[in-house]
Amino acid sequence: MLLIRCPYCEEERPELEFRNAGEAHIARSANMAGESDDDFEKFFFIRSNPKGIIYERWRHIHGCARFFNAVRDTVTDKFVMTYKAGEPKPSKLPGAVK
């Protein structure tokens, strides 16, 4: 079983307590009615689906019930790091090769 660090509970918890909530850092337009169809399609349907590092929203639903963001590798399934909702995308990942 994976252990996922919840930034609100400040410890690693079993994955069964968590639920994925899609890609993170997708900003909703402040003027939704003024969006063009193409822009709306991009916002609403198009996801990056990368091979490698992905930024996702997760929810500790059977714990503190808070949403947070996680950086995960889609190839190895490993969680690189997690951080609180609302915080900016981390510019440097721990243990990043380069």
């Binding site: 609100y8 918890r13 079993p14 307590e17 059977h62 714990g63 503190c64």
Partner: protein, 190 residues
């Protein structure tokens, strides 16, 4: 006449708690249903915590996986702005919160939950049959509390002593949880 009718209704509306008085004993573990208690869900921002603590008569904990307890009243930290309060003495939690003018949301959920006591040297082993958390005394000391899962359903877990836990679940899940814990208790005893 009307008064008599009201009285008759009041006595016929006797509450029958789910699984009242049931218990299962296995070697080293005992699972029993706890008597009804007053319960409340409390949501409040940081700024209101001090005022609410004062009104409730206990200090609401601000650190994860902890609880505070005083005179039969227990406050479990569930989230950064969420607490679950249990009053086993039957005192009205909502009335205490009603006096507070600071922003908060207090919802009475006394009859939503059913509580079980899991006690004995193998209590942690019995709960671990369906709960993936580390229940060793280092990771989950006495007083530790958390929302988590047991098998397929969500529970609240509170460690009341080295070898005793309080398990709270929703009333409609109580049959599942009691059966699960009973099976787990006999497995843990084996």
């Amino acid at each position: 006449m009307a008064k008599a009718a009201v009285k008759a209704n009041a006595s016929s509306a006797e509450r029958r708690p789910a699984r009242a008085g049931r218990s299962v004993s296995a070697r080293n573990v005992k699972v029993e249903v706890l008597p009804p208690a007053e319960r409340m869900s409390l949501r409040a921002p940081e700024a209101s915590v001090a005022a609410l603590s004062k009104a409730l008569g206990l200090t609401l904990s601000k650190s994860p996986k902890t609880s505070a307890s005083k005179a039969g009243r227990t406050a479990l930290w569930l989230g950064p702005d969420e607490w679950f309060l249990i009053d086993e003495a039957g005192k009205d939690l909502l009335a205490d919160c009603a006096k507070v003018s600071a922003l908060h949301s207090a919802v009475g959920i006394s009859h939503r939950n059913v509580a079980f006591a899991v006690t004995g040297p193998a209590a942690a082993a019995a709960i671990n049959a369906g709960c993936p958390q580390d229940l060793s005394l280092e990771a989950f000391p006495v007083g530790a509390a958390s929302r988590t899962i047991l098998g397929k359903c969500e529970i609240l877990l509170l460690r009341t002593a080295d070898d005793a836990f309080r398990v709270e679940c929703w009333r409609s899940f109580s049959d599942y949880v009691f059966t699960f814990l009973s099976e787990a208790a006999s497995d843990a005893a084996a």
